[in-house]
Point group: C2
Chain length 110, copies 2
């Protein structure tokens, strides 16, 4: 579980906003340019630009320029870091939760 802590800060921080999560969700359908990603939200163009910079800084997306369009795609590896952190600890959390649960069930059965 060796991992750059500050990058995890940025990854989770980037995921903590519904607009950015929505953009990532949209990118599950494939690459999109910034206008397309901004369209579903009632925000200004610079606001969308800022959100994408946050996602980019966290390493969650990459950007490919084609003329005046910037095409955005997801970096699954970065998302996986967050997923791994949660998965690693949730083993232990669930385990100890289940232990308490078992104890309560057994006591109820007496």
């Amino acid at each position: 579980m060796v991992m750059n802590e500050s990058q995890l800060d940025q990854i989770f921080g980037a995921l903590s906003d519904a607009t950015r999560r929505g953009m990532l969700a949209q990118l599950a359908l494939g690459e999109a340019n910034i206008s397309a990603l901004a369209a579903p939200y009632d925000i200004s163009q610079p606001a969308a630009s800022k959100h994408l910079r946050v996602l980019e800084r966290a390493g969650l997306i990459h950007r490919r320029r084609e003329g005046r369009d910037h095409y955005i795609g997801v970096n699954p590896a970065a998302v996986e870091r967050a997923q791994n952190w949660i998965a690693y600890y949730s083993q232990f959390w669930k385990q100890q939760f289940d232990a308490v649960d078992d104890f309560l069930k057994k006591r109820k059965g007496e």
Copy 2:
């Protein structure tokens, strides 16, 4: 994938700080009181108290009072929400990533 968006905001937001992630990691060993959770960090007692309130508001932990001690434990269900969000979309992200990867490998083989 119906899920309270603002709670996801809070869950991911709570996970975006290394101190709070450290506290959750420590809780993998079992319940602990606030002093024990604060001990590894060079922060004041009120700072630790604030971090725990953030985790609590996100539903990631629960608190049980015993005399002057507040014992903290993890709520695995809340963590699972974050995990599920990532797991759901990462299918698609990886899938499209693999498709590009295959394409590049095939082209290289020509």
